[in-house]
Amino acid sequence: MSSGLELIPLGIALVGMLSQSARARYNDLENNQVSAEASATLPTRMVDPHILDDTLGGLPFTVEKTPTGLSIALSTGVLHLDPSTGGNFHATFNRETAEEALDALQQMESRYSQLFQRSLAEQFLSNAQTAGMPIQQVDSNDGVIRLRVTVS
């Protein structure tokens, strides 16, 4: 054990990895359909409808939960996310609109990351309050949320 720790929240978002990998593959294909594939840990919290609504609201997505994961319908194609495959996903877009679809996916990544980070901070604050543990947020402007827990 130690006095310096790194933790990874359960269900960490790795959508960025998905969209970057997808873009890399997109450029390689020459036929009329664009096939994008990537392998990453699926952010399990994405299947939380509340998170989904907040993350995807206003973006050109329609999201449906399926028995195996999520189906995200874009105006340009359908993206299936299936946790049972260990986070692999496969997406097919028309070549003409693939760029637009992947841009939308990157928007989703950005918004999801911000929301997920905020959600983690709220989890800390709420649980500390419940446990009667003094906690405060420290001002920062570098994109990192800083909290300080006072230990009695």
Partner: protein, 70 residues
Amino acid sequence: MKKFIDIEIHPDGRIHAETVNMIGEECLIAPEILAALVKAEIVDSRYLPNYYQTENTNGLAQENVQRQES
């Protein structure tokens, strides 16, 4: 001195935590407290210099050289 655990939540979801003004084995309380506050698993941990300190009779922290060498 007040004792703290400073927590950083990064945009990619990574969480970094460090104890402040704690010395020796009292540093080990940090994982327990963090486990109570967030569902997460520890992927890396290390001893910082304050872990190797002890408190002398004047209440001041001093380095425990013997422990560090072992």
